[in-house]
């Protein structure tokens, strides 16, 4: 199979994070291997640029937990990549903003849990909200474009209006209001996080109205919770088509959640193989590339190159087989699995169960 060229690399440089958000998509179990070194990341970045990658997102965990982040940003700029930092903002003091700005950082996506300090800190499992507000001001002062990312779930979805107002007051260029997707810790905490249908309907109205009101001022992206959709999301624009992820220990993933959601898929590591080979030749990148792997009803579906059969991880988590049609699709014979979850949430009403906070990887040897 002829591989297309990738456009974006998600560099998950560490799983360590000072926040403990119960909706984190990181794996709930991580291998106790050593994180890639600065030199190893620099090589990965150059190999990615040679493959055609134009954008890099530094993510994690909390990427600021690595002291060499400015070095990695500089390496990415030297390879002509557009550099995004995806951060909680915790640890972003004046010195680090300056170092990142000097290294050529192009843009920052700052996560928020809520507009309200108490609720935000409760969700994060850490006193982080005020530090995020300070971080936003520093990013603004440095003249770096700012996006705010809110992960939306049952406990904060009723505050959409206030969250949008926060984005306005922080003069963000862009705000993403993305309903939680159920992978990693979020899958574990699904019953506590999935909003009710009533909440979803109201939130969509608020987001649509705000989008119109703020046209030309702030770009608002509202992402529906896909369990409430009848057609699946075009996950990754197709497996192994445009994106690749390298995780903290150097495993190369077609999708950041694949390592935990699809246990029978074996991933290659940048310590053993060239990135180019992994992208073009590896079994993990080729397994769901194109349309040949698709079962019915996808195989004969006119939508098959629009939604690509949806999300492989979701199919694995909800049906036990990653090669099935995403069960969000109402043409899937497994749609009942999704409907059962929605039914349970509606019957719970506001009596949501407690959640489990994300825990940091144990005894991760750290070399940065």
């Amino acid at each position: 199979m002829i591989a297309p060229r990738p456009y974006a690399l998600l560099a998950e440089i560490t799983y360590r994070c000072p926040l403990h958000c119960p909706y984190c998509s990181n794996p709930t179990q991580t291998r106790n291997d050593q994180e890639l070194t600065t030199d190893e990341w620099t090589r990965v970045i150059r190999e990615a640029a040679a493959l055609g990658v134009l954008q890099i997102g530094f993510s994690g965990g909390e990427p600021l937990a690595r002291r060499d982040l400015p070095d990695l940003v500089r390496a990415a700029r030297e390879a002509s990549l557009y550099t995004n930092l995806i951060t909680s903002g915790v640890g972003l003091d004046d010195d680090r903003v300056r170092a990142l700005s000097d290294a050529g950082l192009d843009s920052v996506q700052l996560s928020f849990q809520s507009d309200n300090t108490d609720l935000a800190d409760e969700i994060a499992g850490a006193r982080a909200h005020q530090r995020k507000l300070d971080a936003a001001a520093k990013i603004r002062a440095a003249g770096i474009p700012l996006s705010l990312n809110f992960v939306i779930h049952r406990r904060n979805i009723d505050r959409l209006t206030e969250m949008i107002a926060l984005a306005e007051s922080l003069q963000a260029e862009r705000v993403e209001l993305a309903n939680v997707q159920f992978y990693g810790w979020a899958f574990l905490n699904r019953a506590a996080l999935l909003p009710t249908r009533e909440q979803v309907v109201r939130a969509r109205e608020i987001a649509t109205a705000a989008k119109t009101r703020l046209t030309g001022k702030i770009d608002i992206f509202y992402v529906l919770p896909d369990y409430y959709e009848t057609r699946p999301k075009p996950c990754l624009n197709g497996w192994g088509q445009r994106y690749l992820t390298v995780n903290p220990i150097g495993d190369v993933l077609p999708c950041p959640t694949a390592s935990s959601a699809i246990p029978d898929l074996r991933f290659e590591n940048v310590r053993d193989r060239a990135l180019d080979w992994i992208w073009r030749e590896s079994e993990s990148f080729n397994r769901f590339r194109g349309t040949e792997w698709m079962p019915e009803p996808c195989q004969s579906c006119p939508q098959r190159e629009i939604d690509f059969g949806g999300c492989r991880c979701q199919a694995a988590l909800l049906t036990g087989d990653a090669a099935n049609t995403d069960p969000v699709c109402d043409l899937s014979s497994n749609r009942a699995a999704v409907d059962a979850v929605l039914h349970e949430v509606d019957s719970l009403g506001y009596h949501a169960p407690d959640w489990t906070y994300r825990m940091n990887p144990g005894r991760l040897a750290v070399s940065a």
Binding site: Q55, Y82, Q109, P145, E173, R174
Partner: protein
Amino acid sequence: MQTPTITGSAQPRLARGVRLQTDSKTGNSVLLFPEGLLELNETAHDIVTRCDGRTVGEIIQTLAEEYDVDPKMLGADVRETLGDLQRRKLIELV
């Protein structure tokens, strides 16, 4: 959305956080911005590379001379391209 008329005296420039770059794989120009990119066709490339402090009128005049076409004919195309880029928040007019 209504686009205000782009006047000849406006000075277009790349918006904050937007970078113009050559894609080494294709040789084409691309605009890179948070979470996305836009591949530019030849005309868009010629316009964007001249968003360097020149006015819209000056850009039209320069390109008309280079292409050896009527500035009035070209003007509509240039304004349309600039309007499109402005709607995507990739350029701003000052």
